[in-house]
C-alpha cells in the first residue's frame, strides 16, 4: 500500500478532510510534515491506471484545494511510501516553501500561439533571392553545403523571430504576470507556449489584455486558457 499524492500546501491544517473523493473513491486527507502539509490518499495498486475517472478524480481534489488556496500540485500518478514522502519533504523543505511563496494567491494561465510558419519562411526566401544563385557553377559537394548553410540561416532567423514574438507577448502583459515559463519552438506551427503565474484578483484583467494583444496581431492564432493549478511552477528545478 502507498500514498497517492495530490498536492502540497503550507496553509492547510493537518487532519482536515476534503469534501470530495479522490482516486478509487477514497476521501483524501491532509498530513503534516513539518511546515508543509500534503494532501494524500491511500492506494492499493501502483501504478495508478490512467483512466478518465482517475484523471478527473485527481483534478477534483486539486480543484477543491485550489478553491481556497494555491497548492503545489503533483503530476497525475505520483505514488510513494510514507517514509519516502517524509524524506522528500525533509530534504527539500526550504525549496518547497519558497515555491509555495512564489505561487501564493496566484493561478496558472496559458497562452499558446500558432504562426503561419510557411509564410514566415516564404517572406525570408523573397528577401534573399541571391542565395539561390550562389551555388551556380559549384560541384555537388559545395552545392550541398551551401544548401545546408541556407537552411541553417533560415532556422536561425525563425528562432530570432519566434524569440521576438515571445518578447512581444511578455512586454504586452507586463506586470500582470508574476512569473512565466515560456517554450519557443520555431520549427513548429505552435511557436510559443507560455504559462503565466497571475494573481487571482487580476485574472479578468489578464484575459482582457491577452484579447487586446491578439487583436493587434491578425497574422497569429491565439489560444488562452485557465485558471489552472500552477503545474508549470511546481518543479523544484524551476
Amino acid at each position: 500500500m502507498g500514498l497517492y499524492l495530490y498536492c502540497l500546501s503550507d496553509e492547510l491544517k493537518a487532519g482536515a478532510t476534503l469534501s470530495v473523493t479522490g482516486i478509487a473513491e477514497i476521501a483524501p486527507r491532509v498530513i503534516e510534515l513539518g511546515a508543509i502539509k500534503a494532501v494524500v490518499s491511500d492506494v492499493q495498486t501502483h501504478p495508478v491506471r490512467v483512466t478518465k475517472d482517475n484523471v478527473i478524480a485527481h483534478e477534483r481534489v486539486i480543484d477543491c484545494v485550489m478553491a481556497q488556496t494555491t497548492p503545489l500540485p503533483f503530476r497525475f500518478g505520483s505514488v510513494v511510501k510514507p517514509d519516502e514522502l517524509q524524506a522528500y519533504i525533509a530534504s527539500n523543505e526550504d525549496r518547497l516553501r519558497s515555491l509555495l511563496d512564489r505561487v501564493r494567491g496566484a493561478v496558472e494561465m496559458s497562452v499558446k500561439i500558432i504562426w503561419d510558419r510557411e509564410a514566415v519562411v516564404g517572406e525570408r526566401a523573397k528577401n534573399r533571392p541571391d542565395d539561390l544563385v550562389k551555388a551556380e557553377g559549384a560541384g555537388p559537394g559545395l552545392s550541398f553545403l551551401l544548401a545546408k548553410q541556407k537552411q541553417m540561416e533560415g532556422r536561425q532567423e525563425l528562432k530570432i523571430k519566434a524569440g521576438l514574438l515571445a518578447s512581444w507577448l511578455d512586454e504586452g502583459l507586463g506586470r500582470l504576470v508574476r512569473d512565466r515559463v515560456v517554450t519557443i519552438n520555431p520549427a513548429d506551427a505552435m511557436v510559443v507556449r507560455a504559462a503565466h503565474l497571475v494573481e487571482r484578483g487580476r485574472v479578468a484583467e489578464y484575459r482582457e489584455r491577452v484579447n487586446w494583444l491578439s487583436r493587434e496581431r491578425n497574422d497569429l492564432r491565439f489560444l488562452t486558457s485557465g485558471a489552472w493549478p500552477p503545474y508549470s511552477f511546481s518543479h523544484l528545478r524551476s
Partner: protein, 121 residues
C-alpha cells in the same frame, strides 16, 4: 476543508480561441509525438532500438554539418577539401534516408521533444 488562512476565490477555468480546430489539430500532433512506453516484445524492440541508434547518429550528423558550415564560412579549407567534405556529408544524409526508410521512421521520429529544453535537433 479547514484552512489556516482566509479562503480566496479562484477564477473558473475557461478556454478561449477563435481557431479551435487549428489548435486541436496542433495539440493532437504534439501529444501523438510524445514517446510511448517501451514495449518489450520481439516485434517492437528492433524498431525501438533502431530509432534510438538512428536518433543519435542523426544528432551527430547535424553537428558535423554545422561544423562543416563553420569551416566553410571561416575559409580555412581548400576548394577540394570543401567539395570532399560536402560529398561525404551528402552521402551520409542519403544513407540515413535509406536506413530511416528501412525501419519505417520519419525525420519527425528522430527529433525527440525534450519538453522545456526544446527539440533534440
Amino acid at each position: 476543508m479547514e484552512l489556516a488562512s482566509e479562503p480566496t476565490s479562484v477564477a473558473e477555468p475557461e478556454v478561449e480561441t477563435e481557431h479551435a480546430e487549428q489548435f486541436i489539430n496542433e495539440l493532437r500532433r504534439v501529444t501523438e509525438a510524445l514517446p510511448d512506453r517501451i514495449n518489450i516484445d520481439s516485434e517492437s524492440i528492433e524498431q525501438g532500438l533502431a530509432k534510438l541508434v538512428l536518433t543519435l547518429i542523426e544528432f551527430i550528423r547535424k553537428l558535423l554539418e554545422k561544423q562543416a558550415i563553420r569551416r566553410l564560412e571561416a575559409g580555412d579549407l581548400t576548394s577540394e577539401q570543401v567539395e570532399n567534405l560536402g560529398l561525404a556529408l551528402m552521402k551520409l544524409e542519403q544513407k540515413m534516408q535509406e536506413l530511416k526508410g528501412q525501419f519505417g521512421l520519419t525525420d519527425e521520429d528522430l527529433n525527440l521533444d525534450l519538453g522545456p529544453v526544446g527539440r533534440l535537433i
